[in-house]
Symmetry: C2
Amino acid sequence: MNKMKPVLAIDLGGTNIKSAVLLPDGRIIYFKNYPTPADKGPREVVKKILFAIRDTLGKTDLEVFRLSGIAIAAAGILDAKNGVVTSSPSLTGWHNVPLRDMIVGELGVDICLINDASAAALGEYRFGAGRGTGNLVYLTVSTGIGGGIIIDGNLYNGTDGCAGEIGHMIIEAEGPQCNCGNFGCLEILASGTAMANEAKRRISRNETSCISEFAGGNSDNITAEIVALAAKQGDSLACEVINRAAYYLGVGLANVVNIFNPEVIIIGGGVSKMGDMLLRPARKVVKQRAFRLPVRTARIVRSRLGDKAGIIGAAIYLVGR
Amino acid sequence: MNKMKPVLAIDLGGTNIKSAVLLPDGRIIYFKNYPTPADKGPREVVKKILFAIRDTLGKTDLEVFRLSGIAIAAAGILDAKNGVVTSSPSLTGWHNVPLRDMIVGELGVDICLINDASAAALGEYRFGAGRGTGNLVYLTVSTGIGGGIIIDGNLYNGTDGCAGEIGHMIIEAEGPQCNCGNFGCLEILASGTAMANEAKRRISRNETSCISEFAGGNSDNITAEIVALAAKQGDSLACEVINRAAYYLGVGLANVVNIFNPEVIIIGGGVSKMGDMLLRPARKVVKQRAFRLPVRTARIVRSRLGDKAGIIGAAIYLVGR
C-alpha cells in the first residue's frame, strides 16, 4: 500500500453519511454530507454509501485504484476482524450486516471498518486535543454515547474490535432501560437523548419552562439543543436537566479516571458544544468521586476536531494498519 | 541488571506480608507469611517488611547484591513513578508514604513498586489462567476489590501507575458509601466485606440463619467465609446474600466486557474460592447485560495461581522493566 496516496473516508452515522478525501497528513481536501436513509434499512443505507463514494470520486476526479483504500467509521458494535456491523443503536435493522464485503463486492477495493468513536479517539490523539499524550479516552456525547481508548499511543480495539463501549457502562444498576437492552447505562442517563427525555417528562407533568415555547408547543420537537438554548436564557428546568445529565456524565468520567488513569479525556459529539455548562459540573463530580492522584492528572477537555474527528481517525487507521 | 539472578518479592496486604524468592522462570524457591501490623501505621509496617526481607535473605542464604532486585506488590493507589503509596483502603494511616525510598534507604538495593492486583494480573497472564491470551482483566475479590489490566500482552499501568481500580467503578450512583469515600463502588456492593455487612444487617433485623451459629452468636465474627459455609448447607439468607453480591459482581463484569472486550476475565482473591456459587450467577448477569459479541468471547474463570499471583507478578514486573 502506497502510504502517500489519498484516503477516502466515510463516517456512517444515524443522521448523516460524511464522505471525505484526505491526505496522509490528515488534511481534508474534500468533504460532503449525505443524509442517511436510516429508516429504510441496511440495503438502502449501503446503496447510499456507494453513491457517496462514487460521487466523492467523481467530484475529486479520483479513481479507486489511486486511493490507499477506503476507511469506514460506523456507529455500532463492530466485529472489525470480519468487517461486520453486529448491531447499531442508531441504525434501524442493522444486525450482523457484512458491511465490508458488501462494499468490497461493488468496488473491488480494500476497505477497513472501525467504530466511529474509536476513529475519533485516534483522530484527536494524532491531530487534535490529544496531541502529545500517550493514554487518552475519547467520549462522544450526542444522541448516544460512544467511546474510544488510546493506550500508549495505540488504539485499543479489544479482542473482536468492539472495545470502548463506555456509553454502555452501567452506572445505576437498577436504572432505566437503555436502547441497547441493558439498564442504567451512562448513555441513557447522560446523552442528548437522556436530556431531551427528561425535559419531556417534566414538561408533561405541567412544569413550566420556556423549552415548550422553543419547541413550538410540540414536545416531540424537544432536543438537547433546545434544552441548552433555554438554559442559556436562565430557564431553571433546563438548567436542572443539564445538571442532572452532567452529574451522571461526571460519574461515568470518574469511572474512566479510576480505571484508566488517563492523561486526558476528550469530550466530543453534538452535546459537547454546551461546553462548560455541561463540563464544569461534570468535572466537579469527578473531583469528588475519583481518587486524588489520577484526578489531578486527567484533564477533561473538549474535542478539537469536532465532527471531522471520525473521518480523520478512520483515515489514520487505514494508513497505519 | 542480570536477568538470571533471583528476585525477592514482597506482597504487602492488610493481613499478611508475603515474602518469597523466585527464579526468573516464575518458580518460587522460598515463601513465608508474616502478619502485617496494619493498625500500628506505616512506620511499623515498613519495619516488618525490612524484617521479612532480611529474614528471607537469611533463610535462603542470599545476599542483597546477588538479587535482580526487590519487587514489592502493595494494595493501594500507588504513584508508581515515585514509589509512593498515596492511599490504601486496607492499610490504616497510609497517606503519601514513600515506601520505595524508605526501603532503598535501609537496604541500598533497587526496589520496584507495583499495585498488588496489577502484579497478580501479570502473574496470571504469564504463568496462570491467562497464558496464551493477549487482553485480560484480573479482579481480586477479597475484603476489597482490586483490578489489573493486560493490553496486548503488556501491563497497563496508566499515566501515574494507578490504573485498574475496577473495584472503585461506580455501578450504583446513589449507592452506599465505600471505604474510598466514593458511593456505590463495585467494592462496597460485591466484596467479601459487602457480603459480611449484608449478612450482619439482615441478622440484626432478627432474620433467621445458621450464620449466627457459625459466628458463635457474635455478629462481629461474620465473614464472607462463614456466609459461604452457611450457603453450602442450604441456608437461604446466606444464599441470598451471595446472590446479591454475585449480581453486583456481574454488573461490574458486564462493564469490563463492554469496555475492554477481553479474551478472559480472571477472578482471584479469597472470595473467589466460593467458585461457581458466586461465578455462575455473576456470569448469567454478564450474559444479560453486556453486548453479545464481547460476551461470547470473554471467558470468566478463576485464578490459577491463587495467593501466589501477586508475588509471581511482582517478580515478572521487576525483571521485565
